[in-house]
């Protein structure tokens, strides 16, 4: 991996990396000129969808779904709330590719998702309902109750008819929340989660390494190169190959 030459001014470097980001989405720019870093001006935690209350809920829920412990960072430390925020603000949150025309019927489990809500709408309605439920039962919003009670609420939502929320099926929301949390923990860091490759380091996935011809028949041998993302190795502490 080539390091940008020292003679390049900061402004030139930023311009070059910005061009690299947009070009690599369509042209397969060689790794040598692909950016290793995101310009400082882009912040992964810039709020795009969640309100402050909603964000507090998501941070609290993520910290219970994938907690920080002796094995390493949890979902919050890995940036998963930022990931979910960005996903909900984008085409996924708007259900851009889903068939969203009526008539609407409940259907069977086999027929799958039949709710009128996009993912973004489902989050908004469900968070409000769950916070109301927690205020009634625990006298505080979800983010403010103790971790054991939070686990109890999440465990009830996980069951098919565990909590009867007024506006949305709690279980449908929990399924989506858990799925998105896992996605954020284990997807390429360029989407805002899996920060410092926290998820990939936990399990041992080295990222999109591309070539294992030399290693595939070395049975039982650990693969030792550190994780790499599609935009490089930011956050691994490794500065050169």
């Amino acid at each position: 991996m080539t390091i940008p030459t020292p003679t390049l001014s900061r402004r030139d470097f930023l311009a070059a990396t910005a061009a690299g980001v947009s070009a690599c989405a369509c042209q397969g720019v060689p790794r040598e000129v692909a950016p290793l870093d995101i310009p400082n001006e882009t912040r992964m935690d810039a709020p795009l969808f969640f309100s402050a209350d909603e964000r507090r809920f998501i941070v609290a829920a993520c910290s219970r779904l994938i907690p920080k412990d002796e094995l390493g960072p949890g979902a919050v430390e890995a940036g998963v709330p930022d990931f979910i925020d960005r996903q909900l603000a984008g085409p996924y949150g708007q259900a851009r590719t889903w068939y969203m025309h009526g008539p609407w019927e409940k259907g069977t489990a086999e027929q799958g998702y039949q709710l009128k809500s996009t993912p973004a709408e489902l989050y908004r309605l469900a968070i409000r309902d769950i916070d109301d439920y927690c205020r009634k039962k625990y006298r505080n919003a979800f983010a403010q109750i103790n971790p054991q009670d939070q686990d109890e609420v999440l465990g009830a939502l996980e069951k098919k008819d565990g909590i009867d929320l007024p506006n949305v099926p709690g279980n449908a929301f929990f399924t989506m929340l858990l799925q998105n949390t896992t996605e954020g923990f284990l997807s390429d860091p360029m989407y805002g989660g899996n920060r410092d490759f926290a998820g990939w380091k936990l399990i041992g996935f080295p990222g999109p390494r591309y070539n294992y011809v030399e290693q595939i028949e070395q049975y039982g041998t650990p693969y030792t190169l550190p994780p790499v993302g599609l935009l490089g190795r930011r956050g691994t502490g490794v500065t050169k190959a």
């Binding site: 779904l65 259907g107 799958g112 591309y210």
Partner: protein, 577 residues
């Protein structure tokens, strides 16, 4: 009002595998060919470049290379007494969209059907008696034999540079191959892929209990290969991003990596992307097609006249277009009359995950890198004591270790919390999964027709899918999944296994396979089929219908190898007509 365009000799609806083969063959025969593709144009570079294609979230989870239900989907119900509801997001199967079709995102698991798969009704009745088949099972013999298709399987396999080991050369069983396969005229063009750690462990276990493991024939090239069209493919690097991704390494056979470099240079060939065909137009007699109508990306409607119309879309869309266009008599499940939409079938799958003490590096792999036993597929074993027909192969795949969708955890692991996290840490590098990949027979009630309520973005009725698993399939899967467990128990160095069975009703949510078959089946008479043995509509003689929509029922194998062979078989007939 549609704009009428200048006529072409042949218009192809859809430009995936079958479209590319037909276009190559018909242009060689001197015809002017136009392919209309609803999706966008795509090529290996830039669209599948390794600098961005290895993105699990974008491609596998958010499904960037697949059909968007927002534009076109289907409705689904388990039985005719339910109301079908739209498949609002993709799940159980993933039709491709764009040039190359699903040929871009397949794994490359490349199979021939067994000789007995082509005559399943007569073979079953001969071996097990007339009473063996349930009354509502509507399986029928193919109107052609394995021997008829063999030369075309061969052409297809050499086009794709299949990596494998023959098990039967001209009737002589070969060590290291599949001893159950039909006779083949020559060895595969390339040797098997390198074997992964999981394949080796499976191989040893299966042999130890008397089974016959072999490497899955792979459309991932084990070495550099130049195909008969002169197109160069590169050696697979085992990057583990085949299925649901394009290949940036020219190693996975796709239209782009095998045919398009030759085809796209021809003046007699043109492809229009973003052209969604909404009708095959018929003349006043209804017996002859005059061309097709399509809508472009701007919503403008065009009429494209042609002497020959070849439906090369995904199996479900071929059937949908026939129903919308009034080609053939629609099937009616209540009476059993009609043929278009009849005998829809699918694939039955189950898994047995194995947990090893030692690491197996699951992220090193290829789409068709796996060790397989075929001992319990088709009629390779005596069905007499079991009372069901059909079977499954059992495979240990090393298709990749993408973290979001390809992690396997022991039974009883919570789905979240500290215990989940710890289980991920302990098991990801140590747990490959075995697949049980089973046949699905056709039944009177499993069918396709037009939905009475829901419409697509073009205002056309959605296709309606009525499908459920039947006792024959569930019994077969129970038996074959238990055989997979036998292998899991024989594996050395394993801590345990997790059986994920196929039970209950078919559901459209969980991904199973994109192996949807039937609906425009081939047969020997207009009374029992929508197309003749050469895939020509019985009703509209200048319309041909390619692909797995022609299968009268589904065998226990991935369908693409037979799709390729069948397309060459049909192309041969069209050319020599």
């Amino acid at each position: 009002m549609a704009t009428k365009l200048p006529a072409v000799d042949a218009v192809l609806v859809g430009f995936g595998w079958t479209g590319a083969i037909i276009a190559q063959e018909l242009t060689e025969a001197g015809l002017n060919v136009l392919a209309l593709e609803r999706g966008s144009f795509r090529d290996t570079i830039p669209d599948f470049s390794p600098t961005h294609i290895q993105d699990e979230l974008r491609y596998a989870v958010r499904k960037a290379t697949f059909e968007e239900p927002e534009r076109q989907t289907l409705t689904f119900r388990n039985s005719t007494n339910e109301t079908a509801l739209p498949m609002r997001q993709l799940g159980s199967f993933l039709p491709g969209v764009g040039v190359g079709g699903a040929g871009v995102h397949w794994n490359g698991q490349n199979w021939r059907y067994l000789p007995t798969d082509f005559r399943i009704r007569s073979h079953t009745q001969e071996r097990y008696g007339k009473q063996f088949l349930p009354d509502d099972m509507t399986v029928q013999d193919w109107p052609l034999s394995y021997a008829d298709l063999e030369p075309h399987y061969d052409t297809w396999e050499y086009l794709c540079g299949i990596s494998g080991k023959a098990g039967n050369l001209g009737g002589a069983i070969q060590p290291g191959g599949n001893p159950f396969e039909g006779p083949r005229q020559r060895e595969f063009p390339n040797p098997p892929l390198a074997r992964s750690a999981a394949s080796m462990k499976f191989d040893e276990a299966a042999r130890s209990i008397g089974l016959h493991p072999f490497p899955c024939p792979a459309a991932n090239t084990s070495r550099p290969y130049k195909n008969p069209l002169g197109v160069q493919m590169g050696q697979c690097t085992y990057c583990g991003f085949c299925e649901w991704f394009g290949c940036g390494n020219y190693s996975k056979a796709s239209p782009q990596s095998t045919i398009l470099p030759v085809l796209l240079r021809k003046d007699s060939f043109q492809c229009k992307a973003g052209a969604n065909v909404t009708r095959v137009n018929l003349d006043s007699t209804g017996k002859r097609a005059t061309g097709v109508t399509y809508v472009d990306a701007q919503g403008r409607e065009f009429e494209q006249p042609a002497d020959l119309v070849v439906l090369c879309a995904y199996s479900l869309h071929n059937v949908h277009l026939m129903l919308l266009s009034g080609i053939g008599t629609p099937y009616d499940a209540a009476t059993g009359r009609g043929v278009v939409g009849k005998n829809y079938a699918y694939q039955a799958t189950a898994n047995v995950d194995v947990f090893f003490d030692e690491i197996v590096n699951p992220f090193m792999g290829a789409g068709a890198l796996g060790q397989v036993v075929d001992d319990f597929n088709g009629d390779n074993f005596d069905h007499g004591p079991h009372g069901f027909i059909g079977g499954a192969y059992i495979s240990m795949w090393s298709t990749g270790g993408r973290p979001i969708l390809q992690h396997y955890l022991p039974e009883g692991t919570p789905a979240w919390g500290a215990q989940w996290k710890s289980a991920m840490h302990e098991n990801y590098l140590r747990s490959p999964s075995m697949q049980v990949h089973g046949s699905v027979m056709s039944y009177r009630g499993n069918c396709l027709d037009l939905d009475p309520t829901y419409r697509d973005v073009y205002g056309n009725p959605l296709l309606r899918l009525t499908f459920d698993f039947h006792p024959n399939e569930l019994d077969m899967m129970k038996f074959t999944t238990d055989r997979a467990v036998d292998i899991a128990k024989a594996v050395k160095g394993a801590r345990g296994y997790r059986k994920r069975e196929r039970k209950g009703h078919y559901g459209i949510v969980e991904y199973q396979t994109t192996h949807n078959t039937g609906g425009a089946i081939l047969g020997d008479s207009p009374g029992n089929s929508a197309v003749n043995p050469y895939l020509q509509s019985w009703d509209v003689s200048n319309v041909f219908v390619m692909g797995a929509s022609a299968y009268p029922q589904n065998a226990g194998y991935n369908p693409t190898g037979t799709v390729g062979a069948l397309t060459y078989w049909a192309a041969d007939a069209i050319r020599s007509r």
